[in-house]
């Protein structure tokens, strides 16, 4: 990103400006880190360190007992495994379907403005508008509380992200490579997978990471469409509602477990962040 000042001015302003800038940045960093720190530290505090005034910022005897409790007594492990499976499969499916559609839109302008508009607008559909009928439909189709059901729902939910991020990447590819492949004797299907997709791979990878994070962190669909078998990690937090005090550690342990992959993946796609957040409208 370019480095430039948005407010020009003589040098004494610069110094004051610098102070203000770093103050703002510093405050925000604190704002971001402190709650996170609190969650992580609570996950390793022994229980009697919870209810203290002043609060304990670093426990004298850190423990991992909450992690084991969260994973096994509160079925956190099952939630974790379900989330992993569901997120992974949804990501793959979303990537495949999204790639196919993005390629078609990018190369052939299929369906013109209308199709593009329709797919894009799905991103903004409030889940509450379709959750009730989907709930009923899933029940009648036998998909309620199944991993497959959630996978289908999440693939649908993340299509706009996949399609729109990859669309931008496909548009940038020079046509002559694909033309060479066609003349060489490849079918369009082969051309897409053997020439276009490998070249768009960075974009596809970035889009996939965004999809994974979206599914990993999703709550509403999982809440409504699962029960005792296919529940995901975010839904396990329901068990900690009400905060009777005894479960702070477990709740935070689970939170930390969910946080770590999220954040690591997020760091990986930093460069594509603006593109992912705005569905490709901005390059960043």
């Amino acid at each position: 990103m370019a480095a430039r000042s948005a407010t020009a001015g003589p040098s004494r302003w610069r110094r004051r400006g610098d102070l203000a800038r770093f103050a703002i940045i510093g405050l925000f960093i604190l704002f971001v880190i402190v709650p996170l720190y609190w969650v992580v530290i609570t996950s390793i505090k022994p229980s009697n360190d919870y209810l203290t005034v002043p609060p304990v910022w670093f426990p004298a005897e850190p423990t991992i007992v909450h992690y084991t409790a969260a994973l096994f007594s509160y079925r956190g492990l099952q939630g974790l495994v379900n989330s992993l499976i569901i997120a992974s499969v949804s990501t793959v499916l979303s990537a495949i379907l999204g790639t196919m559609m993005a390629y078609s839109l990018a190369r052939f302008n299929t369906g013109g403005q209308h199709l593009a508009f329709w797919v894009l607008s799905q991103r903004f559909l409030p889940p509450v508008a379709i959750i009730l009928p989907i709930f009923l439909l899933f029940r009648s189709w036998g998909l309620y509380d199944t991993r497959i059901g959630l996978i289908i729902a999440y693939t649908f939910m993340t299509l706009p992200i996949s399609v729109w991020m990859m669309y931008a990447y496909f548009r940038q590819l020079p046509r002559s490579l694909e033309e060479a492949a066609l003349v060489d004797g490849l079918s369009r299907w082969q051309t897409m997978w053997m020439v276009a997709v490998p070249l768009a791979a960075p974009g596809i990878a970035a889009a996939s990471v965004f999809v994974f994070i979206a599914v990993w962190t999703e709550f509403f669909f999982a809440l409504v469409l699962t029960s005792r078998h296919a529940f995901t990690l975010p839904t396990v937090f329901r068990a900690f509602l009400g905060f009777q005090g005894a479960q702070y550690g477990e709740a935070c342990a689970l939170a930390t477990t969910s946080l770590v992959p999220s954040i690591i993946l997020g760091m990986l796609v930093q460069r594509h962040l603006v593109r992912g957040l705005t569905l490709g409208a901005l390059r960043g």
Partner: protein, 366 residues
């Protein structure tokens, strides 16, 4: 190997007509060059033959088979692109072998073919490298290798040498010509460079604004251009064009350029399409046919006159001297040391039997 036949081809993009009614017959094994200024439709024509563009009207036949609507892969043609279009994520071996891999050719056969093609082009040592590690000339060879490994019926070249520097271009030109002698397949080559056209072609097809202006052997087009456009396009430096009137006395024709200059007598026996006496015409004479007077008498049909040189442009092997004839500029080709400089009086022989007379309205040769 196959011949290519195009009948009544029309193709437009949006509202713009790129190809308007082209008929072309290319016999098997011939090297045909489609040449013309940019926008003349040559690339469109080539891409239509490849199947990369759909045609609205007309038919394309390869080897007697109508290929309209057939996918490129089914037409069994190979194409070499201007920007080489090498797959950056594959090695040279991968690039060349892709077409074979895609159709399920067994591995030993793939190896044999790729090695054979690489050997022919002298790139065997590069098979494990990636396109980004290659120079322009090497990439071009890989692109050609990709084409020859399939041994297609027709080779198509879309301005393959435009991205190379001049020295490399000369060298690759020779290679392509030798390739044609070597594998004797129909080749259709598109370029805007008339030197490439002249040196490579068995037959030149000169296109202008979507139509064929003239086609034939290079020397035919060069010595007997059918129009002003053809005459001006081929040959460097350009042909001299002089405006005058065609006059007739007795059975002989002559060009009248005005009072200051004697009439230029044209050789007898030429009909000039029954042009009327006094009609406005353009006389075309190439600089190499305007030279220093040699011998006591001019050669039969040539005309001798005296003039003053205005400008001299030496190119090393030749020098080009400009002078004026009835106020119109004329370029003549002289030996390198044969001229001293501007202001020199010189005697010139005009080799009129080699001249072409054009109708200024239609641009056609008479």
């Amino acid at each position: 190997m196959a011949n290519v036949k195009i009948s009544g081809l029309h193709k437009s993009f949006g509202g713009v007509q790129a190809v308007r009614g082209v008929d072309l017959d290319i016999p098997d094994r011939e090297f045909t060059v489609l040449v013309g200024p940019s926008g003349c439709g040559k690339s469109t024509l080539l891409r239509s033959i490849a199947g990369l563009e759909d045609v609205e009207q007309g038919t394309i036949e390869i080897g007697g088979q109508v290929v309209n609507g057939m996918r490129p892969r089914d037409r069994d043609v190979a194409m070499v692109f201007q920007d080489y279009a090498l797959y950056p994520h594959m090695t040279v071996f991968g690039n060349i072998s892709l077409s074979l891999r895609a159709r399920g050719t067994p591995k030993p056969e793939i190896e044999a073919r790729v090695n054979r093609a690489a050997e022919m082009l002298g790139i065997r040592a590069l098979l494990a490298r990636y396109p980004r590690q290659l120079s322009g000339g090497q990439r071009q060879r890989v692109a050609i290798g990709r084409a020859i490994v399939r041994n297609p019926r027709v080779f198509l070249f879309d301005e393959p040498l435009s991205n190379l520097d001049a020295q490399l271009r000369d060298e690759m030109r020779g290679e392509i010509k030798r390739l044609h002698q070597e594998i004797a397949t129909t080749m259709i080559y598109v370029t805007h460079d008339q030197i490439e056209a002249m040196t490579l072609a068995d037959r030149i097809v000169l296109l202008r604004e979507g139509k064929i202006e003239q086609q034939g052997a290079p020397l035919d087009l060069f010595e007997r251009p059918a129009s002003l456009f053809v005459a001006g396009f081929l040959g460097s430096p350009k042909m001299n064009f002089l405006q005058g009137k065609l006059v007739r006395s007795g059975g002989a024709y002559a060009i009248d350029l005005g009072e200051e200059v004697p009439k230029l007598a044209l050789p007898p026996g030429r009909a000039f399409n029954g042009a009327t006496d006094g009609a406005k015409v353009i006389l075309g004479l190439r600089p190499e046919h305007v030279g220093r007077a040699a011998g006591a008498q001019p050669a039969p049909g040539s005309q001798r006159l005296e003039t003053t040189i205005e400008l001299v442009q030496p190119t090393g092997s030749r020098s080009y001297a400009s002078f004026r004839l009835a106020g119109q500029p004329v370029l003549s080709e002289l030996q390198a040391h044969d001229v001293s400089g501007p202001g020199e009086r010189i005697t010139i022989d005009l080799n009129l039997p080699r001249a072409t007379v054009f109708d200024p309205e239609t641009g056609r040769a008479l």
